[in-house]
Symmetry: C2
């Protein structure tokens, strides 16, 4: 980063840009949620960025091995001891507003109501542990295999930071890997390497992503070992993805210690699978890639007032908008039709395109805006295009404008994006 | 359908098949949830089927027009009047178990706790109405434009059918279309045609999907008109997707009647956008396509005991597994390596593949199983393949086996799937 800005300025700049450029919904509540690694309401740009990250996560996990299966479990779980429960407010109101009930009757009925209410899941691990049993049939009790899921989980907010009872949500991505006890430790290493490599693949500064062992005092859920993939945010490092070697205890607990039902072949021996759990916070992942891709560049020189050029140099695969189509001010109906034709061509080729030609702005305003949106290419169509089919294609990262024939643009963009993905 | 089975038998057969073949998790609770159009825990096959349906829905909506933007809003909403609230059970317990509190103190504190607790969303409409305002800037106040979202919504279960306080969840898909008052009615017709065409595109019996107007008495949310796309299940028709012409009232209500803030250009006039809301229940959509694709065929003839061949003739685009790889019993290590190589090739080409070679079963057992899974093609590798590169490819729908060279299989499958998608 070529800037001298302080850490908090950088954070302010990025979060403001996110709200201004439709990555997240405006308002303090959304900015704060994203800043703390929780879900916020995402606007069009943020939605597509998050979708691209989740799609890449999914592909990297489910296509890496034949024995990884996707599942989709419920958010409502029949867990009597859950920390958050979904309560029917009208039934609740009828009980507490009933003047004829004594205190102990009110308490009894409320406890009944709570007992019938579903808990909401706080992680994706439990759902996968439950689906282990039917999946064993699927894989003919051969280890290893994995169950993958992405979805929303619910948490109580830390009571020191918020009013009592406040909750938050988070999009998590989970791989639960069932393997033989002999190999669990090697698998933890394997997935750690795979995950760190994945996060770095899409990074502008890969060294901001790193992995480290969790110290013994912080091991959770009976884990014998834990590793975190962390990102160095301006305010310090925070975990993006955590990997635990959980042994067999959680799986046994989930299935009432029915050891025989869980047994799998490991060579000639029968074993209860050991569990390696990989769990990512994908909202914090979105924030990490936003920070990682933000470049602040000085514009203008000498004693002129210095403007900052803000560019989100998001990886071509992750960039929510690959190309914006423009035609400058006062264009004719004919030009507009050319734009619409090209737009349809891009949409059909699954290239996400921004209908910039609908916006009457100067070229400079457009480039500033598109750089902040992380738009990979800007295509400028002009009267020229009508005459000879030529148009200008501007590259976000090099800022270089190239002349290209309209019939070549789609293939050029596809090749550029594919090349970046396969490096 | 070539069967004489009664309606309830057909339902039983399908739901059993879903549990047996890993579409849904085993257990009455999941079968019942799916049967009633709610989310259940999906196993690997169901997860991929649902994902394919959702992906197709998303593409058909967001790529149909340049002015459709995706959003991703929160499940927790600060709505004091919500019917379901997320309650912190430990704070709740501390209040009702406090012996020192009088009844009115308990009631006061519980009301406070409930007041601080978030509601959960029951639909996707509200989130889109809230994001209308920032989106107006994005589109320079030009109509029409749309906001699309898919995600989980939460409902109270009907108290006649369940214990008080029980809740369910559902994956919904929503397009909220903002347009000029003049054109709202035409847009409703446009989206109705588009949606019906979409549902029928993937159907084996398209006539089971139809659309009809909602009668006036059942119009919801201040709608002036409503249309339903329904599916004819064995027990009767149920709505898959509903389209409402909501006028301006819901949008105005969401933004505190701030008419000036919402105004958009409609030719020379300034207007508050009218809202056409399209909302689909994608869990019921999964069920509809499962029923629609199930074919029961008699096997064997004469006085022999008649076996039923059950085939899920899911559309090639929706089928969760496109190809299964097999090599028969007692195969050599060399053959297994060929299988693994081909599997990797398929995975890299984004063709979902089933590692059937891991399962030591007879050919007949495999075909029965794969037909019930809706597997499009079965590729059989044999000693022959090692000698001359030839293998057998069986088509689910025709049951015909073709000999093909190993180098051609991938391209053949890709062409087949693409052709089916583009009909």
């Amino acid at each position: 980063h070529s800037t001298q800005e302080s850490e908090s300025d950088l954070t302010t700049t990025l979060l403001k840009l996110c709200a201004d450029r439709s990555f997240i919904a405006p308002g303090e509540v959304h900015t704060r949620a994203l800043r703390h690694g929780n879900s916020c309401s995402y606007g069009p740009l943020g939605k597509d960025l998050k979708k691209n990250i989740l799609d890449q996560w999914w592909n990297s996990i489910t296509r890496s091995k034949a024995q990884v299966f996707g599942i989709d479990t419920l958010q409502h779980v029949p867990n009597d001891a859950g920390s958050l429960k979904l309560v029917d407010t009208s039934a609740f109101g009828q009980i507490i507003n009933n003047k004829d009930l004594t205190k102990s009757q009110v308490v009894d009925r409320l406890q009944q109501l709570l007992h019938h209410s579903s808990s909401v899941r706080t992680n994706l691990l439990q759902g996968a542990l439950e689906q282990c049993l039917p999946s064993l049939e699927l894989v003919k009790r051969k280890l290893p295999f994995g169950l993958a899921e992405t979805g929303v989980c619910h948490q109580l907010l830390d009571q020191n930071k918020a009013a009592i009872g406040c909750s938050s949500e988070r999009t998590e991505a989970s791989l639960v890997w069932f393997c033989s006890p002999r190999t669990a430790s090697q698998w933890l290493d394997h997935w750690t390497r795979q995950r760190l490599k994945w996060w770095r693949k899409f990074a502008l500064s890969p060294s901001d992503f790193s992995s480290s062992d969790v110290v013994e005092a912080e091991l959770q859920g009976g884990a014998s070992r834990g590793v975190q993939v962390t990102y160095r945010f301006p305010w310090g490092s925070e975990p993006l993805e955590t990997l635990w070697n959980l042994g067999e205890s959680e799986l046994l607990k989930t299935h009432g210690n029915a050891r025989a039902k869980l047994q799998c072949k490991d060579g000639r021996k029968l074993v209860v699978p050991h569990v390696v759990a990989v769990n990512g916070n994908m909202d914090r992942g979105v924030l990490a890639y936003l920070f990682n891709s933000l470049q602040l560049e000085k514009k203008g020189s000498g004693k002129q007032r210095i403007h900052q050029r803000k560019v989100l140099k998001l990886h071509p695969t992750l960039a929510p908008v690959k190309v914006a189509l423009d035609m400058g001010k006062g264009a004719t109906m004919e030009l507009r039709q050319v734009c619409e034709g090209l737009l349809t061509e891009f949409l059909e080729a699954d290239i996400s395109v921004w209908p910039g030609y609908l916006e009457p702005q100067t070229l400079d305003q457009l480039h500033t805006k598109y750089d902040e949106m992380g738009v990979l290419f800007t295509v400028m169509i002009s009267e020229n295009t009508l005459e000879n089919g030529l148009l200008l294609v501007r590259n976000r990262d090099s800022t270089i404008r190239e002349t290209m024939h309209i019939s070549e643009v789609k293939t050029y963009l596809q090749k550029y994006i594919n090349a970046a993905e396969n490096i």
